[in-house]
Amino acid sequence: MRNIALSLSLAVGLVSAPALAFPWMVKHDYQSCAVCHVDPSGAGQLTPYGRAQSDVLLQWKLKKPSPEEAQEPSPATRFLWFLDLPEFLNLSGNFRGGALIPIGSQVRPLFMAADLYGTVKVDRFVFHATTGLGLRNVGPAAILPQCGGETPCNAQWVAREFWAGATFADEAVMVRAGRMFIPFGLRNNEHTMWVRQATRTDTNLDQQVGISASFNGEKLRGEVMGLLGNYQLGPDAYRERGYSAFAEYSLASKVFVGVSSLITTARADPLFQLPQVRHAHGMTFRWSPTEPLAILAEANFLAWQQPGRIDRLGFAALVQGDYELMQGLHLIASLEGQHTGQGERGPSFGGWVSAAWYVLPHVELRFDTIIRRITRQAPDPASTGVTLLAQLHFFL
């Protein structure tokens, strides 16, 4: 029963999925995400250059292309595989579906994401918005209808990002305001991993309204964001306000080390309705020792402070290895751990074994095996759950 519950809870987290982000692009010596993504810190919509690079560097090819071929992206990298757009306009989409196969339970089809992205770039000004449909548990990004309380969160119109920004210093600096991804840690696309869930910084549902300034230099990149709250949830007392920031420095070619920090305060936490200050502070590491391999790591210290209660201390950590067997076919192994500081008898641990196959232009097929051992408070024993996840992803 516990295994089923664990798998189902994981399923709930997976029924909506975010845009992709590939921190392992470090193996291609990409430190900065801004050249390929509209968001200067990565994830979400690709720039036209990023779309071309997705064909050159990501797509599965049976034999390694010649240097000339590698420079020439396929015409299929255009919007909807064939549409040419004016230079100022960037349209794309993100559709993801799949099936969750909890060991010992029924297979569940998943509708993860159906989002459209739009960006208009005029001179130094950038306007970006996404909209889409979510079927379940997309509440924090929902616009209509309202849900919560007695009303279940089923089909909803969602808007994960909408922001406007301006670039300066030859586009090395971008100042933005609106609803954005929170700058913290590795912007990995496995949004249910504990490093993202425990810090509430995933690119699926944890966007917030705020003002940010980002920098992408030759050796250094980073972003600091003032968090004004998630205005797609209420009442206002539950909204978290504060700051989040990260910086990453290139120690050497294909070796990057970063720091992240986040402090938020809310007048009420959703669980106990007590004021809460939440901390997450950590480090990241990206390294590509050989061309096919990328090692990613993140470790965060966590703390929750509430008046009249003992501070809760915890952590969330991840180590991930991404090995590219051949271009477009990745084997990924991940180890994760967390402690939520709620009196559980030691940390929980998880392991992911995944395969991602970029089989066609803008098409990804991915399989994950997720094993998690969840530790609980005494006298409850720890439980282990195994879940298989299959995903088909189109990014238009």
Binding site: M1, A5, R124, T192, Q232, E344
Partner: protein, 178 residues
């Protein structure tokens, strides 16, 4: 049985959880045979999409203000004792919470359904919370209600200011190029 499972993978998407043993612990501590219908609802706003909603009922908030902690039966008994000692009346119907729960049949300490004749002397949840909880928000103040999603009438105020800033910047650029 499900406690903390959601928390492990859904810290935000499933913001509330219930301690499954608590209803039984309350029965045991108070020596009462039954609780009001839907015993989780004594403390939690019910919800259809998680096992239990936010712990925000008047009685639940009074319990929190008196030291209740998730998955901690000792804190539960301590909070019940504190409420009984203070004659806390979270719903203000004149019947103290613990008396309502001990009554046969039990009545709901969150609704003004007192059928035993109010004593009129009970401290409100807010008063009890303020005294015992050191002024923690859980016991006093207006009830927040459950967490709700969907912006509906919510508008990000910063966006209006941002649009104005961008227009100003654009004008400045034009002036400089002239």
């Amino acid at each position: 049985m499900l406690r903390f499972v959601c928390l492990a993978s859904l810290v935000f998407a499933a913001p509330a959880f219930a301690t499954a043993e608590f209803p039984g612990e309350i029965r045991s501590a108070l020596g009462t045979a039954d609780l009001p219908p839907g015993s989780c609802a004594v403390c939690h706003f019910n919800s259809n999409f998680t096992r239990a909603g936010v712990m925000g009922t008047p009685f639940g908030r009074s319990m929190l203000a008196n030291g209740l902690m998730g998955n901690n039966a000792t804190s539960l008994r301590g909070a019940l004792t504190a409420l009984e000692m203070a004659n806390t009346d979270s719903d203000g119907d004149g019947c103290p919470d613990i008396a309502e729960l001990k009554a046969t049949p039990a009545t709901n300490p969150n609704t003004r359904d007192c059928s035993m004749g109010g004593t009129g002397g009970g401290a409100s949840g807010g008063e009890a919370g303020g005294a015992a909880g050191g002024g923690a928000a859980g016991g006093g103040g207006p009830e927040l209600g459950p967490l709700r999603y969907g912006c509906g009438a919510n508008v990000a105020p910063g966006l209006v200011g941002l649009a104005a800033l961008l227009m100003l910047a654009r004008r400045r650029d034009r002036r400089e190029t002239r």
